[in-house]
């Protein structure tokens, strides 16, 4: 008489005991596996959000570009932000070196400028005077792109809208700025920025007027086109490759910056949420495993109580202790294996029927979230859990004194 056959016959006879065992083990497995699905789905969603943000940022950079300011190295940023111009200067040659470099690829539209706040003596007021020379052409690159800004003719001045309005000047009219005569070349439309109170003149003339020959205090690099999220570091690396450590680079506020920050926030929040989820899931799974083990132990004990005369008779007919133990342990092993299958089925069904209540979970990608080794572990650990939980009752059954049992009748 084989032990396997006896196990199967006993299972068929006491179906409810075995079904309860399966249900308990199946629920434990299902919870653990579904938790993994939830965590994987959350992770995927976070990664998708971050990827979407990354993509968005890249698109923003690609389509809109972003702007940076290159300033003299010793320029205090607090002063720059307070005064709206750099009080330190650098040689004009810097911008030319950048334009001549084959190494620089992320910068576009280099625009040198010399900016200062000056007293417009004739008008008795302060204005921002910006000496510009238009965009410096690249030596080793195509310059087919339309320049971002045109140079101001040497005898001309462009004026911001608010200033022009207050001064009452018109296009074509001559104006005198600190003894220098300029023809009003262009009056800009209102921009809602300090540009509205700025005057633009030729860089050379500005250098002469400010007694700063061949000096500039700002290089604007417009529509930079970095692909990476950490673009400033990338650009700094390119610039320092040409200019060494003589300049500093700051990024002008842009929508791309805000998006990059949002992306970082989403990534960080996602990590925190995942960590929290994993912790909660781990704790609950541990409790459920403990509870499941207790129920399995109780069911095994109940089964042993039901079968004590059987154990006594089997001992009487010569069954060794090991065979009696195998009768109980074999049943637990089988319950563990089938419990693992039941758990997988329950988890799959819950995902398919949308009972999990977490977006992104379905039975279609169930196996994608559970690795082969994890499945193998389920088929090893579940029977192990069942055997460990039921070991004590099984050992008690195997060790029962048949004389005591049989003399109870």
């Amino acid at each position: 008489m084989g032990v396997g056959r006896m196990i199967l016959m006993e299972i068929l006879h006491r179906k409810w005991n075995f079904l309860l065992l399966l249900l308990v083990l199946g629920m434990v497995v299902a919870y653990a596996l579904t938790s993994m699905q939830i965590i994987a789905a959350e992770q995927q969603q976070t990664e998708a959000k971050v990827a979407a943000m990354d993509d968005d940022i890249r698109k923003t950079m690609k389509d809109l570009g972003f702007n940076i300011n290159i300033l003299p190295k010793d320029q205090q940023l607090v002063d720059f932000y307070a005064n709206d111009f750099a009080d330190k200067t650098m040689p004009y040659e810097f911008v030319q070196r950048l334009a001549d470099s084959e190494f620089v690829s992320s910068l576009n539209h280099l625009r040198p400028a010399l900016i200062q706040k000056v007293d417009w003596q004739e008008q008795n007021r302060q204005v921002l005077m910006m000496g510009v020379s238009g965009v410096v052409p690249w030596t080793h690159r195509s310059n087919a792109k339309k320049p971002m800004s045109d140079p101001v003719p040497a005898d001309s001045m462009n004026i911001g809208s608010a200033l022009a309005k207050q001064l009452g000047v018109q296009k074509g009219q001559d104006v005198v700025l600190n003894g220098e005569t300029f023809k009003v070349n262009k009056i800009y439309d209102p921009r809602g920025t300090k540009d509205d109170i700025t005057v633009w003149i030729d860089l050379k003339r500005a250098q002469t007027m400010l007694n700063l020959p061949d000096r500039i205090n700002l290089i604007q690099a417009l529509e930079c086109n970095c692909a990476s999220i950490d673009r400033l570091a990338e650009i700094e690396k390119e610039i320092s490759g040409v200019l060494g450590e003589d300049v500093q680079v700051i990024e002008l506020s842009a929508s791309a910056t805000a998006r990059a920050k949002a992306r970082t926030n989403i990534a960080n929040e996602g990590k925190l949420r995942l960590a929290e989820l994993a912790k909660t899931s781990r704790t609950r799974t541990q409790w459920l495993v403990a509870l499941g083990a207790a129920v399995v132990g109780f069911l095994a004990y109940f089964n042993v109580r039901q079968r004590q005369f059987e154990v006594g008779v089997l001992r009487a007919v010569g069954a060794p202790t090991s065979r009696i133990l195998m009768l109980f342990v074999g049943k637990l092993l089988l319950a563990g294996l089938l419990g693992a299958v039941a758990g997988i089925a329950i988890s799959l069904a819950a995902c398919k029927l949308g009972l999990v209540g977490v977006e992104g979970i379905s039975s279609n990608n169930w196996f994608a979230h559970i690795s082969g080794p994890t499945l193998a572990a389920v088929f090893v650990l579940t029977p192990a859990l069942a055997v460990m939980a039921g070991w004590l009752p099984a050992a008690i059954a195997a060790g029962q004194d048949p004389a005591l049992i049989l003399s109870e009748e």
Binding site: M1, M6, E10, E310, V313, A316, V317, G318, P402, S407
Partner: protein
């Protein structure tokens, strides 16, 4: 051959000592059929369990066909039980989830050899007890008489040299009791030693000898 030599067994319960077996000596030859009678609690079942290798005595020895049961390992004792001893109980103790044939074959649990032969023998025994038509039925579907016949077949499967029967007819009507007693008689005639514990005069009349047991001691009637 069954030989009990100065077998003593004492139970201790709530500070009281109950002398279930007091220096019991018993020697039964092959084919001897004895009935043991006595009042409840006199130690009859203890004697049977001790003789069957299921209850270690405090003192003395039990030998079956020259093997001293309590001087061998537990596994060896189990093997001796399987090969040489057949138990029959008043409550039958059939395994409820096995059919009649499997119940008879349950006496082979743990053995791997001669399974086909054992199965043939089980079928023959069931035929002998007129139980072939019930071979696929579960114990719950059998009458008490049928249950005891199955229990007898189980006890006989391994062709034991000793049958220990504890009130086997206690729950049976006369007709079924006779079937069991005739079978025990037949076994005895075939050289099997039979020890029958009973309260029943009719049952004890089937035995060659009747031994009276009182307060853990044996007395030939």
């Amino acid at each position: 051959m069954l030989k009990l030599d100065a077998v003593t067994k004492t139970y201790r319960q709530s500070g009281n000592e109950i002398h279930a077996l007091q220096s019991v000596n018993l020697k039964l030859d092959d084919g001897q059929f004895v009935a043991i009678r006595g009042p409840s609690g006199c130690g009859k079942s203890t004697l049977l369990l001790t003789a069957g290798g299921l209850l270690r005595p405090d003192h003395g020895s039990v030998e079956i066909d020259g093997t001293s049961l309590y001087h061998v390992s537990s596994a060896e004792r189990a093997a001796v039980r399987q090969a040489k001893i057949g138990f029959v109980f008043q409550q039958f103790h059939l395994i409820p989830y096995l059919n009649v044939l499997d119940n008879v074959l349950s006496a082979t649990i743990g053995t791997k050899s001669q399974l086909a032969e054992k199965k043939d023998r089980a079928e023959r025994l069931l035929k002998q007890f007129s139980m072939s038509h019930r071979r696929m039925h579960r114990p719950g579907q059998l009458s008490t008489g049928e249950k005891q016949r199955v229990a007898m077949a189980r006890a006989m499967l391994n062709q034991p040299s000793l049958i220990l029967a504890d009130e086997p007819t206690g729950n049976l009507d006369k007709e079924n009791a006779d079937v069991i007693l005739q079978q025990l008689r037949a076994l005895s005639n075939d050289g099997v030693t039979v020890v029958l514990v009973t309260h029943d005069d009719h049952a004890s009349a089937a035995a060659d000898d009747v031994i009276r047991m009182e307060a853990g001691s044996l007395m030939l009637e």
